[in-house]
């Protein structure tokens, strides 16, 4: 039972160490898992994702889009119904599938070269950002059908578009380190349980050892040993027994009535008698 639990703990600890380390290393101190920059080949004005691309929710995502020659660019997240209606008449690149770290499936849709309206004039973006030469958008993926749109502004296009995507988990690095630390603790606990750590291995109390130690914390009180059937009266009645007679009977073990006297006599500092019962309880506590 103990061995089984120990091995289980050891396995769990190793898993935690590996997982925590992996998270901490992958996310880094900035709590980001980044891919890119990647080139997205297009000479049009719109690149949009289909809803299947952003099929998960929860994490915070950061998208950095860059275009050369100081061209203005817009990046926005909107509900798929809105985004698809907006770009429906415009020639565009549709990203139909995305796999980590960076594998895109795309489809070129035909249409007018221009957008129907300036993206910055629309009120339904869930998140948006624009800039000259680049724009960065940070958002939390909602539990709804959403599409990401990278759009040219004005008379410019998206030629030379580069995209960097980051998956952000605030505190992930700390969580990773914490998990790894927890795993280490579990591993240590498992090693102790399995007695694979010699330094902390527990040994049976050597009650009959010749070199009886003085430290009362390390060796249980003989009187508290439940196996000891002797009573206090037995102890008192042994007072008159000559010590020399009992000294050689160590092999008889604790149940040999005279063995206890010899132990008390050998204690350092001249302690030859057990303290009163109340004192012993206090110490034991």
């Amino acid at each position: 039972m103990r061995r089984g639990a120990g091995i289980g703990l050891l396995a769990l600890g190793i898993i935690l160490v590996l997982a925590g380390t992996a998270v901490a290393v992958a996310m880094g101190p900035d709590d980001r898992l980044t891919t890119g920059p990647h080139d997205v080949r297009t000479d049009g004005r719109a690149v949009v994702t289909k809803p299947a691309v952003l099929a998960r929710y929860g994490p915070q995502v950061s998208v950095l889009v860059e275009v050369p020659d100081e061209k203005p660019v817009f990046v926005g997240l909107g509900h798929t119904v809105d985004v698809e209606d907006y770009v429906s008449s415009t020639a565009r690149v549709e990203v139909t599938r995305y796999r980590v770290p960076w594998s895109l499936e795309r489809r070129d849709a035909t249409g007018e070269p221009q957008l129907r309206a300036a993206p910055t004039a629309l009120d339904w973006w869930l998140a948006q950002s624009s800039g000259i030469g680049g724009a960065q958008l940070r958002f939390t993926l909602p539990d709804d059908a959403v599409s990401l749109a990278v759009l040219a502004v004005g008379d410019f296009d998206l030629r030379g578009l580069r995209v960097t995507a980051s998956y952000e988990v605030p505190g992930a690095f700390g969580v990773g380190v914490g998990t790894a630390a927890t795993g280490l603790g579990v591993v240590l606990l498992a090693l102790v349980a399995l007695k694979w750590v010699p330094g902390v291995r527990r040994t049976a109390p050597a009650v009959d050892a010749v070199g009886f130690v003085d430290d009362e914390w390390d060796v249980p009180w003989p009187e508290t040993d439940p196996a000891d059937a002797d009573t206090w009266d037995d102890f008192l009645s042994e007072d008159s027994t000559p010590p020399a007679t009992k000294a050689g009977s160590g092999a008889a073990g604790p149940r040999a009535g005279g063995g206890r006297w010899s132990r008390w006599r050998r204690r350092k500092g001249g302690v030859t008698r057990p303290k009163a019962a109340a004192d012993k309880q206090k110490v034991a506590r």
């Binding site: 099929a55 929860g58 119904v81 985004v83 309206a117 605030p170 579990v186 606990l189």
Partner: protein, 331 residues
């Protein structure tokens, strides 16, 4: 180590691992449905406030261009027609009156997977003693929210309660007769036929309600001596229909009415002051002409096995324009 202590330790470790995993792993979305609620509450309120403000300003200044910022389709045509009539009767420098704003009572928002987006709001207009049942529409992602239908019912009229599921309005497709005595499009067409001809073979499909009676009585009064009066009705395609809690449907429909007068040679007609006939045909009217009207109606279609026939519960209409047909017979 005892079994109990081992279990405690394992539990603590599992809890630590679970907490460590929170927020790290992205979750699969709960639904692949791409639809969205047509509007959120803030959008509804903002849209309605803008509408009330613009409509008040437009009627106060008799400026249809302001109205065009917040209305579209038949309702814009009707309101612009009313402003046009007022200007024709009272001059271009005339001003209207500030209308008292109505208050939203209920809002019903469907989930839609494509534009146009729309929602329904009922608003109580205490000053006029009516309840407006209004449809606001956003035709595309690049356009504003605009009022597109606004039939009105008396405050005493009991309207069927629209059906909602998890707060989302249940809609009915225009040609969907499932659970209804007839499909919305079919019903509206039958209603237009009955309005135009009391002896129509489709008269058994819809009720001869108060709107039918009112229109027939009005038509009788417009047949002036020395003229040949002809009225026709036609139904516009149904765009909005919603399910009611009793399994029926409420249908927003638009009917076009054309009133044509062909004057006999030498005849003239005098119209009452303030009438649209006087505004468009002059006083006296000496040439043949046609007036066109839109009537937006809210029809109730009972469920299969329900009580009664499809009937109109609310309407809003008015003249939208005129045509001088001269000596040519009106349609």
């Amino acid at each position: 180590m005892s079994a109990r202590a081992t279990c405690r330790t394992l539990g603590a470790v599992a809890l630590a691992a679970a907490l460590a995993g929170c927020g790290v792993v992205p979750l699969e979305k709960t639904s692949a449905d791409v639809s969205k609620p047509a509007a959120d509450p803030s959008t509804v309120q903002r849209t309605y406030d803008n509408y009330e403000k613009a409509r008040g300003a437009a009627f106060a200044a008799l400026d249809p261009e302001v109205l065009a910022l917040v209305e579209t389709g038949p309702v814009l045509a009707v309101d612009s027609g009313a402003i046009d009539v007022a200007k024709r009767l009272h001059g271009n420098a005339s001003t209207g009156q500030e209308s008292a704003p109505a208050e939203i009572e209920d809002v019903y928002v469907p989930r839609l997977d494509a534009y146009p987006l729309w929602f329904v709001a009922t608003a109580r207009d205490e000053a006029r003693g009516v309840r407006r049942i209004q449809v606001f529409e956003r035709a595309s992602s690049t356009e504003r929210w605009e009022l597109t239908a606004s039939p009105e019912a008396l405050l005493s009229t009991v309207l069927p309660v629209p059906e909602t599921t998890d707060g989302v309005l249940e809609t009915v497709a225009p040609d969907d007769a499932d659970g209804l005595v007839s499909a919305p499009s079919q019903t509206l067409t039958a209603y237009a036929a009955v309005l135009g001809d009391p002896s129509s073979p489709r008269a058994s499909e819809v009720a001869a309600d108060s709107f039918v009676s009112q229109m027939r009585a009005q038509a009788a009064g417009l047949a002036q001596p020395g003229t040949t009066f002809q009225r026709t009705w036609s139904a516009q395609p149904v765009q909005y229909a919603l399910r009611t809690k009793d399994g029926g449907a409420l249908v927003f429909g638009t009917l076009m009415r054309q009133d044509g007068w062909v004057l006999t040679p030498g005849a003239t007609v005098r119209w009452p002051a303030g009438s649209e006939q006087k505004a468009y045909f002059g006083d006296p009217m000496a040439r043949s002409g046609v007036l066109r009207y839109y009537h937006q109606v809210l029809m109730y279609i009972p469920p299969t096995g329900g009580v009664g026939l499809p009937r109109v519960l609310a309407q809003y209409g008015g003249v939208i324009g005129a045509e001088d047909t001269g000596p040519i017979a009106a349609p």
